[in-house]
Homo-oligomer: 697 residues x 2
């Protein structure tokens, strides 16, 4: 088997391929018999080993391919294991106690079928107004139970959020049922049903749907959108070797795993010939979606979509011209099946460029000499479906050194039943008759393994503040003095910081050893993030305990291999006592994170008070943030991007002679009656007057 | 003359055309002799008259065309006037005292030429190291003086920020001179020079430039960007009648004036046949750019770019394929010249559509039935050059009822001289040797004349807050309860509110009489704005006094004709004692703004601590905010936008038969070796298995 692997040697950051997954499963099955496989995934190379190899790929030892395996044996025993694929050996096989691994799609899909046949569920459906002969119209979204103190974490459980579809094509989220079966994965049976005190029978409202038949029945599609074509006749501006991409000075490796989905490794920027490291690893590492209805059992609705379900496992297969337009490159994803087979998600990642508007422009008001340069961006995208919701995750790279993680929320609201004339008590909104969409937050945890000109970095909180001196004082006579207050986050405890909208707080990841020759400030990447609502569940609450990472907007930890998951390695059914992940790692907060190999964890997101406009499917809602180079480049790094048009003062004086005109010749006037639109400067330059097209009379 | 106007009757919101401007000037000149014209602009129709006409254009009286004229007579006398164009009469001619009107481009351009010949300026140049025979290499950016207590406001003054160009094509902002002449517009002479105690001779550093010759000399342009073509073979999806545009249910009038630039009037949305008013008028009404260096005379650098210079007067002539791509419609702008002529800025506004990514998407994890629909956006854009800076203002309309004002900052930093080894003291950054770019803010004031289902609206501040009940209490046992706290802003005093990042504060403009039948909440438009740094100059400071509008993120006033300018009607040389505009209008704060015709004023922006990456020209920095319908539409208003792909559960079961596939056929794979990318669902549907392209083995 190792010989097979040698044929096409994967990059050490490459996800396990189908052959490697099969090999790992085969090795484990031989040793331990039949198992359910929850995880068979690359154990990423240890950083010390990997950085040595990256520095000297020809001479340093190539990191070994190791598979991380999480499997469940009969009886619900959970094992954490490692398989050395080069040697074909199991190097770790550990029985876990009271921990539940990530849930698989197969575990989820099984629940609905069993619920439909369960007599107690059928009884509840009948009580709700669904006749027993319509059980095929009953659907459930199985979630992990989250944590329920009545059941603890020894038994693997799911909660089944129940719905009804009058027709197979009708969206079930408009017909929620009011009870919640608890499903035992090991027993493959419903072991309990949570029944509310106030019953809410099935809504009789007529359906509202987004599928074509429904739209056609209510007036049809609008006919007034003319096509926009986006084409790249000469191909794309990026190069891909395996999973390594190069584009506009950037170079990085695009990984993918079951949990985080896209992982970007070894992100560097070629700064005029010098390859400068910026981030060792970037990923969305966790998220939590707490719902704000305090009534039992809604407190259990606080999905950790990455740790409990996996952004990789739930990812969509993308398609040309739908999920993005232009010239697209796709990468597939390979995963184990629960029973020990493999599956491939075709087109799990799409990679494409987009025109990004104006990169820079300046006109001199004296003579209308002008330069205008258009920007391009590179987008690495995945979209995953977390039951009702969809998350479109874009990693956007800009030419100026900015990286922009961008998330669009769409899909369907999680809903619960509401009786006619029942009040939501402010915990939700009736978005459709009988449909209560509860308040919720989407809180994402971005893991930033900083490598700004090397691994030893320090983080500063930066606040824009007025001068401390009063108006009228010698130091601030007119009162206009202001500047940036920089607070060094020297220990893990001091680094736990919140957003401050009043001071436009940002966080700088700096290399204290690289001082900018002009500004005298250290080379840095600045985290600019403005959607930072903070965790609304209270201190001491179940969510607060389980989602320790979300208590502050920023944490900084010292890098350690395997500290990848901010809510802990195995998230389902954790009680939060003690909190796993970041709170566990920072302990008493005394560890130094100054001038160390550090990881910055940033929780951002949105608080969503639903409205009827979000139903029956939500128009995409954007969340974005920026990682920007500051005092990193000597000067503006995009001066050499070819301008669309440039005309200098001397060229204006020579009536435009020698002006650079690389204007896009594909653009057209919307209406021909409008007369020809002049290219920049050509109008005025031609008549020897103001070249911006101003005609003075 | 009225007969000429009758030929092509302008819409009452249309800006004055060239003929109308000429007519107004002619009438005024006949009555009052030779004048300098600072403003000849449409006096927008009184709202009562206009709304009556809008409601019944065939029967109600058509509002008369009235020109607002501001002119300066010999001796520096400033007049505010009104000219009734239908009757050819001057209805107002008022001599102002101690007020200075907006500055014109001609007033600005004159200063440099006179400074170059002024003996005292030449003397200072020589002291700085510029020989007198190089005075043609000396440039100045004339700014209004702002306010300088030594000179007051009776004399019309400019301050000249001085620079040097070693070569005519070299950007002067890298060679600032350290002194500041004061220019008297009436005398056309330098009347004073501010000379700093510490002198800073001309920098000898070699230039860094962005013009093609400079880039070619330092390695040339990058060659690795392949073209992206954006085309609309069937034309655009909008219709224009005069200056009224209709697009995707939206309809509004696009005005333009010398001061605000783009003005959008009578914004309505056709909601399934019912034309619903949303905003009577939207514009960027003012801005202030305070600089944070407290040393004299830098406190004078706090440009009110709209009130002092005019976003219309400074606007660029745009060009095809440079400032935007695709199929573009342009509108011109017509202005008076100072001497009483007219000028036309060709292509002052560009209007185009862009693909806007995914509008909504949902996949059912059970069977991979899926719908994916792409979004379109409409962009109304202008770009203006305020001396060193450029502002690209985009008014973006989305299909889902969202309006997104979006501003991109680019151009060049305002700079000042720095001696070698001199410290910036934290008030700026040395972005290039000898170049100190001072800290500054860009604070924009958005004027929102709300008309949410009619003129009588109320504003609420909305904060996302945890339940008031403690963890463990019956009301909030698990501690997860949270909701929206709504605070009614009932008076102008109570409505003066700040941003709160901790509660993700938004502001709802609601119509209390229009209750949503599902949610029970009033129809509203929500202001979602996250870049709200607050004014950093201290309370009582010069900027705080002059820019009263910027003291809070939101003000609400009762609508009054002519209350258009939040820093006052005539901004140059105001002392701020008392503060003009909003502070003057709200007075003691007791006026009711509940269920009234109201205007919401929102100040947002960015605090900019410069970095070398911003020099010599700044990569565009974005600022954006959203105006979103909440509880306004019955349901998602974009269900009828044709999907790219839709396959229902029954179609999945029938192996994809009947699926709607309108996928863009222009998109291509980036590399042919990659194999064909399946259209959504077709992969799996074809093999009767998981239709999202997941292959299970």
């Amino acid at each position: 088997m190792p010989s097979t692997l040698d044929v096409a040697l994967p990059h050490p950051f490459d996800p396990l391929g189908t052959v490697e997954i099969e090999e790992a499963i085969s090795i484990v099955t031989k040793a331990h018999g039949e198992l359910f496989f929850n995880v068979v995934s690359l154990l990423e190379p240890r950083k010390a080993e990997m950085t040595a190899w990256l520095a000297n790929p020809d001479t340093a030892p190539r990191p070994t391919r190791v598979a991380e395996v999480v499997a469940i044996a009969k009886g619900g025993k959970v094992y954490d294991g490692l398989v050395n694929l080069a040697e074909g050996t199991i190097t770790k096989w550990e029985l876990l106690n009271g921990l539940q691994p990530i849930i698989t799609m197969e575990e989820l899909i099984a629940v609905e079928h069993i619920c439909r046949k369960d007599p107690k569920v059928i009884e509840q459906c009948e009580l709700s107004g669904v006749p027993r002969e319509e059980m095929h119209k009953v659907y459930c979204d199985p979630w992990t139970i989250g944590y329920d103190e009545r059941f603890g974490s020894q038994v693997r459980l799911q909660q089944a959020l129940m719905y009804y579809r009058p027709d197979v094509d009708t969206c079930q989220y408009q017909y929620p049922l009011d009870f919640c079966p608890i499903f035992d994965v090991e027993k493959q049976a419903v072991i309990h049903i949570d029944i509310p005190k106030v019953r809410r029978p099935l809504s009789k409202t007529k359906p509202i749907d987004y599928h074509p038949t429904a739209v056609e029945a209510t007036g049809g599609y609008r006919q007034d959108i003319k096509p926009i074509h986006i084409t790249q006749p000469d191909g794309v501006s990026f190069q891909i070797t395996g999973r390594e991409i190069e584009w506009q000075r950037w170079k990085f490796h695009i990984g993918f795993n079951y949990r985080e989905g896209i992982v970007l490794n070894n992100i560097t920027f070629n700064d005029k010939g010098t390859v400068r490291p910026i981030f060792y690893r970037l990923s969305l590492a966790e998220m939590v979606v707490p719902y704000g209805n305090p009534e039992h059992p809604h407190q259990r609705k606080h999905a950790f979509d990455l740790g409990e379900y996996g952004a990789g496992y739930m990812t969509n297969s993308l398609s040309l011209g739908c999920d993005c337009k232009g010239a697209i490159h796709y990468l597939d994803a390979e995963f184990p099946t629960r029973s020990g087979g493999t599956r491939t998600i075709k087109n799990a990642i799409c990679i494409h460029e987009e025109d990004a508007g104006i990169l820079f422009k300046h006109t001199d008001f004296r003579d209308d000499s002008v330069i205008v340069t258009r920007a391009r961006k590179l987008i690495i995208q995945q979209i995953f479906t977390a039951a009702n919701y969809e998350y479109a995750i874009q990693w956007i790279f800009h030419q100026d050194g900015t990286i922009q993680p961008d998330i669009k929320l769409t899909g369907i609201l999680n809903t619960y039943a509401l009786n006619p004339d029942e009040d939501t008590d402010g915990w939700g909104t009736q978005v459709y008759p009988g449909v209560n969409a509860h308040n919720h937050q989407h809180l994402f945890c971005l893991r930033i393994d900083a490598n700004v000109d090397g691994p030893r970095n320090t983080v500063f909180a930066v606040d824009a503040v007025p001068s401390e001196h009063p108006v009228g004082s010698a130091e601030n006579f007119y009162g206009n003095g202001f500047g940036a207050k920089r607070t060094k986050l020297d220990t893990t405890g001091n680094a736990a910081t919140d957003y401050n909208g009043a001071t436009s707080r940002t966080w700088d990841m700096v290399n204290p050893s690289k001082i900018h020759p002009y500004s005298g400030k250290p080379a840095s990447y600045k985290l600019v993030s403005r959607e930072v609502p903070g965790l609304l569940p209270k201190e001491g609450s179940l969510v607060w305990k389980r989602a320790g990472f979300a208590r502050h907007a920023v944490y900084v930890t010292k890098y350690r291999d395997d500290q990848l998951w901010p809510a802990g390695r195995h998230v389902p059914q954790t009680s939060g006592e003690p909190s796993q992940g970041i709170p566990e790692w920072i302990g008493d907060g005394s560890e130094s994170v100054e001038d160390e190999d550090i990881v910055l964890w940033h929780t951002f997101g949105v608080t969503h008070i639903p409205a009827p406009e979000d139903f029956p499917v939500m128009p995409a809602e954007p969340i974005t943030l920026l990682l920007r180079p500051r005092n990193f480049f000597l000067s503006n790094p995009v001066l050499d991007v070819p301008p669309s048009y440039a005309c200098t003062p001397s060229q204006v004086a020579a009536a435009g002679a020698g002006a650079l005109d690389a204007t896009d010749r594909m653009s057209r006037l919307a209406f021909e009656t409008n007369g020809a639109a002049a290219c920049c400067g050509s109008n005025g330059a031609a008549n020897g007057h103001a070249s911006n097209g101003t005609n003075w009379s």
